[in-house]
Subunit: 298 residues, 2 copies
């Protein structure tokens, strides 16, 4: 054991984008600085979507600029299309992420594009980014289950991942976007992907809707994955169930990994202070699944 | 897959014994009948502790008597000492459980007896029960971590388990009483126990204090365990954190097992109705970790 596991924090993007309370740019920047100080090695700091569509992400360009001198953390931004890519470049982004979904219907409903168009679009962005010497991350969204099409064929996910890597994705993130994956399904798909691409090029992103996020992390760990997304305070998830169906909480996965003997180099006490910061700024009862009094007395 | 996993429900004992609201005997019996109707194959229906010490368990003898004709569910009772054993026999109990702790300090603090005395006491009860042709279950409490002594030596647990089996325990239940075990520790101890005693004679009991209960179930599943305790609505746990640190919820483990392709023969919709029944009777916001709106719309 004592193996290193890399945590990529998605709170400033996936966690904040759907909150009732929209944080101002100073608060978002402060959150990112606190996460860096806690030792998080990678953070998705925002997205270049239309501020009309997602007001909570307005001003991501300013945040990118203000963090240009950060050297000890991989700061990435989410890119929906070529226009977003150009804006990200103008702001000075160094790592970009694309997020195609694995099914026809999810892409149609989500962004009004066919699966084929979405993949082509993502590949174009990846190619441009590699030409510009940026680092690239490519999600495969709804990799296990789609809210419209149900269970997703793992071969479909592999085919998409292959195209994304072929177009320059440095890393593929298998994403259980709706929190419907189970450990058996995770083992199966992850094993196939590890066999095909190697564990180093893979990461996983779980939501806790059905309380299986940590179990899914374990299943992926057993198959060799050593990179995971997580979201401080378990923010995000479904607006119908506030606080109950968010992303996998950073404090929960870090605690589990540490207990299991893995190394994250992340300060759990600092994470707990950041949970308090989020609760105060969002004026909401936020936090992962770990019993709150354990957090407080740690 | 499609392998069968046996769930032993501990709600009527472990779940109810520490609630603010004490349920009357009719409500406790109604809860047990509903659990049986949902297809639960085993239920710990109460304990023969002093009603002065644990008022919520008063009248367990009446409950045992009223359920004497139940044939399709293994109904067990918890026995703290020989006096409790005699009362259980008088009531007609057919399956009894003993619950020694694995460490010196836990036994001292909990029941004011040394570890050696506690094990001897449990062994005597098991021997008496086998002589009386009863079925027997033996917990090893704080099998991974003790609140007083910290991490527990797995060899200590094996030695205790060996003595209990030698005295007639049909089944050993490895119990993470304070919810401090992690999947790596679970794998290690369970593997040792399976190597020594075989998986058929073993079961596991997890609490969700640190959100790792389902991950621990997975770790035990991988080592061959096919019997687990669980507690409807995640009742129980630490009174300092109501609703947040209970037992592993029956509805959560059953949902995960079903999603993973295991067979429990338990009706998830009926479990959800029982969660509602508990919420109403206890006048509390109870339920497992799964997002509540998922439960409601299933």
């Amino acid at each position: 054991m004592n193996e290193y596991v890399y945590i990529n924090e998605v709170g400033p993007r996936d966690g904040l984008q759907n909150q009732k309370t929209i944080l101002d740019i100073d608060s978002r920047t402060e959150l990112i600085h606190q996460l860096i100080k806690a030792g998080i090695p990678g953070i998705e700091i925002g997205s270049f979507v239309s501020p009309k569509a997602v007001p909570a992400m307005a001003g991501t360009d300013e945040i990118v600029k203000s963090l240009e001198n950060i050297k000890n953390c991989d700061l990435s931004v989410l890119i929906p299309n070529m226009k977003g890519y150009e804006l990200a470049c103008d702001a000075g982004a160094k790592i970009i992420s694309v997020v195609p979904s694995a099914t026809e219907t999810m892409n149609q409903k989500n962004i009004n594009m066919s699966l084929e168009e979405t993949i082509k679009n993502s590949c174009k962005i990846l190619q441009a980014a590699k030409a510009d010497n940026l680092c690239t991350r490519a999600y495969v969204s709804v990799a296990w289950e789609c809210p419209y099409e149900g269970l997703v064929d793992s071969n479909q996910v592999l085919e998409i991942a292959y195209k994304l890597i072929d177009s320059g994705a440095d890393e593929i993130i298998l994403a259980d976007t709706i929190g419907a994956a189970n450990p058996a399904g995770v083992s199966k798909l992850v094993k196939q992907c590890v066999d095909q691409f190697g564990a180093d090029q893979l990461s996983a992103h779980f939501h806790d809707t059905r309380a299986m996020a940590l179990s899914n992390v374990c299943a992926a760990l057993y198959e060799g994955i050593r990179k995971f997304d997580a979201c401080i305070a378990g923010l995000g998830g479904c607006p119908f169930a506030p606080g109950a169906a968010g992303n996998l909480a950073t404090e929960d996965i870090c605690n589990m990994l540490e207990q299991m003997g893995y190394q994250t180099n992340i300060d759990l006490n600092k994470l707990n202070s950041i949970v308090d910061f989020c609760a105060e700024k969002l004026d909401a009862n936020v936090g992962g699944r770990m019993t709150p009094w354990l957090r407080k007395t740690n």
